[in-house]
Amino acid sequence: MSAMAAASGVGGEVGSPELARSLRRAESRRRWTAISLTLPLLVFLLVTLLVPIAALLMRAVENPEVARSLPLTGTALSGWDRKAEPPAAAFAAIAKDLAGLEEGSQAGALARRLNSEVPGGRSLIMGTYRAATGDWKSLPAATDAELRERMLALDARWAELKYWHAIAKNASRWTPDYLLTSVDLKRSVDGGIERVADDQRVFGRILMRTFEISAIVMLACLLLGYPLAYWLSTLPARQANVLMILVLVPFWTSILVRVAAWIVLLQREGLVNKALMSLSIVAEPVALLFNRTGVIISMTHILLPFMILPLYSVMKSVPPTYLRAAVSLGSAPLAAFFRVYVPQTWAGVGAGGLLVFILSIGYYVTPALLGGPDDQMLSYYIAQYTNVDVNWGMACALGAVLLSATLVLYAVYRRFAKAELSLG
């Protein structure tokens, strides 16, 4: 940097345009080298992180099924008041749209979409699709009213308005429905937003539960990790390194192995219960598995290193002389610890706490294997929608909720951490 400044100073004095040019060239070369060195990382981030996240957010609001498969119906329903039965032209439009679908998979996607809106939509659509592409092909051309009669004769549910509402509502290419559902809201028939019925209200509770479990795990990690990290930081380097390996070995073990080990330890006839019973602490085996207790115990164990490592690195940088100075100035040792030492480790507490909390809210395998249905976190339902229901719009919307929760937390931490970091 200084060489460049000196050179440009010389160039300025001499005023030779050639020198200035060659300097500019050298500078731009350097800039391009710097850019090309960071380029692989930028491309990597773009391809593996930003593009998938953008695709995920897109899928959470995309709604192509009805718009693509029922174009005529969308037009026919555009003037419908949504209170009385739709015009016969709408019935005819559905019959024509379904008959015109080129491949079955499109009808299947449409049926799936409408079924997740109104249970029963799947069989209604598939039944009508089979008739429209089968038997009805050989019938003579019919008027709109006749097509309506034909559809009602095939399936009387076509007289029910809820199916028509679902079609009309989803006729546009984009929808807020998945995102609304992921926070227990829905669009009502007249376009307003309302809460869903109580027995379908679920994701708000699950999100709260996710936060609750994460907070408990974070606190447990802090309570267990803080004294350990403190002790490690006061030990001579050789001993501290050996003990650090004990912290890290489980950290390097596969998560499934650790979860399986906890099942062995915590089950009814397991080691923990046997020990408790032989010490006469409990008379009957305690239920430690397939409930909240098991989930929290094993998540705390798995996430503990993420708390210990940042704490340890911050504590190593706190000079022990401060504590000694406080004590020699007359402070009680415990008071000195809490008033002099602990405030200097806030950065580690914040980093460790945030790390553990953010990792916790995405937990999936551990609660799935060690918890009951009441202990499943948001990721479990994302997996359910991805794999079992194959409702990827819903899965992406829940993913978006999880992502925004993480970002909000991180923003809060940044505000909070800035003030703390300025101390050091």
Partner: protein, 343 residues
């Protein structure tokens, strides 16, 4: 140079079988059931010259969907649960089967075994199971399963709405033939969840089919809903686990051919082989699931037959799992279950 030669010869050895014989990827659910399929289907079929690559999955149709959509199909024959055959068929994930290449439709029972996009390979069921060492008196009905005074202790049930809402209604006195009629009304669904609520505090939930026999053996629970084959497998290992067949819910497991597979001909040959009377009978000897090829029944002894869900005595009061109902109502009921479990 030596390293290069070695690498080249290893590569040649790996590549050779692929050239010498064709291969077929068959996807299964793992566990005792996959072992029975390997013994009865894969190994004898390999003698005909096609290598079978066995892949395990857990029923995730998302994988099949991703494969078909990307037109990069690496799975050929997939074992499927019944709801997935119907949904996958609607969405074009599986080939429409040409039965002339498999066998005579008349040989297969029950009627649902012959599906447009899949062929039923065995009948399995979800039953009430208990540990014969722990319970002096056998539970006889689903009302007994709910009766925590007469049979104190926990019960294991599958995490989710499926099967549990049906069992709850039968425990509440609904006749098996009326279960789906009642369940399709909002009041019926309320009734099922209310009945499940009575037992909620005493339920230990299971996720994988291997868990209920473990819970029963470990004494965690006194009764469980379980897949009959898993209980039978544990009984073969000498555990005193018993099945109460009353009001079992039976269902079919299918083979489907993934749409767009390059090995379609080999897949048809495999289906024709596996659904023959010989392999079907051999399969039922290895695990207590009922063959769909009725001709296979003649090859089984009375003891094996008595353990199958399809035995006449076991079928009495049995309920056929209603694919159509679950295809329509499944997502809503599972969501309601999630909501119910948080309350």
């Amino acid at each position: 140079m030596n390293t290069f030669k070695l690498a080249a010869s290893v590569a040649a050895m790996l590549a050779l079988p692929a050239f010498a014989q064709s291969q077929l990827t068959v996807v299964n659910f793992g566990g005792a059931n996959a072992n029975a399929q390997k013994k009865a289907y894969y190994e004898p079929f390999e003698k005909t010259g096609t290598k079978v690559i066995s892949v395990e999955y857990n029923g995730e149709q998302a994988k099949v969907k991703a494969m078909v959509e990307a037109k990069k199909v690496t799975w050929d024959v997939v074992e499927l649960e019944s709801p997935d055959v119907g949904r996958g068929c609607d969405e074009g994930l599986f080939e429409k089967l040409d039965y002339s290449k498999i066998g005579s439709k008349a040989d297969f029972a029950p009627a649902a075994a012959v599906h447009e996009c899949g062929i039923g390979i065995f009948v399995w069921s979800t039953v009430m199971a208990y540990n014969g060492d722990k319970l002096k008196e056998a539970p006889k009905t689903w009302a007994d399963f709910w009766d925590t005074k007469k049979f104190p202790g926990k019960r294991a049930m599958r995490k989710g709405a499926r099967y549990n809402v049906e069992f709850a209604l039968m425990a509440d006195g609904v006749k098996p033939e009326d279960v789906y009629k009642v369940l399709s009304t909002p009041a019926g669904a309320d009734r099922a969840f209310k009945k499940l609520g009575e037992l909620k505090a005493n339920i230990q939930w299971w996720e994988a089919g291997a868990q209920p026999p473990q819970f029963l053996v470990a004494g965690d629970v006194v009764m469980a809903t379980a897949y009959n084959g898993r209980i039978d497998a544990a009984a073969r290992e000498g555990k005193n686990l018993k099945i109460s067949w009353v009001n079992q819910i039976y269902d079919l497991e299918y083979y489907g051919i993934v749409k767009g597979t390059p090995n379609r001909d080999a897949a048809y040959k495999y289906l024709a082989f596996a659904l023959g009377a010989g392999p079907q009978g051999e399969y039922a000897k290895n695990i207590a699931y009922g063959p769909t090829n009725t001709k296979a029944l003649a090859k089984l002894d009375a003891k094996t037959l008595g353990n199958l869900p399809t035995a006449a005595a076991n079928m009495k009061g049995g309920l056929e799992f209603n694919i159509k109902f679950w295809a329509d109502q499944g997502e809503a009921l599972e969501k309601r279950f999630a909501s119910w479990s948080t309350q």
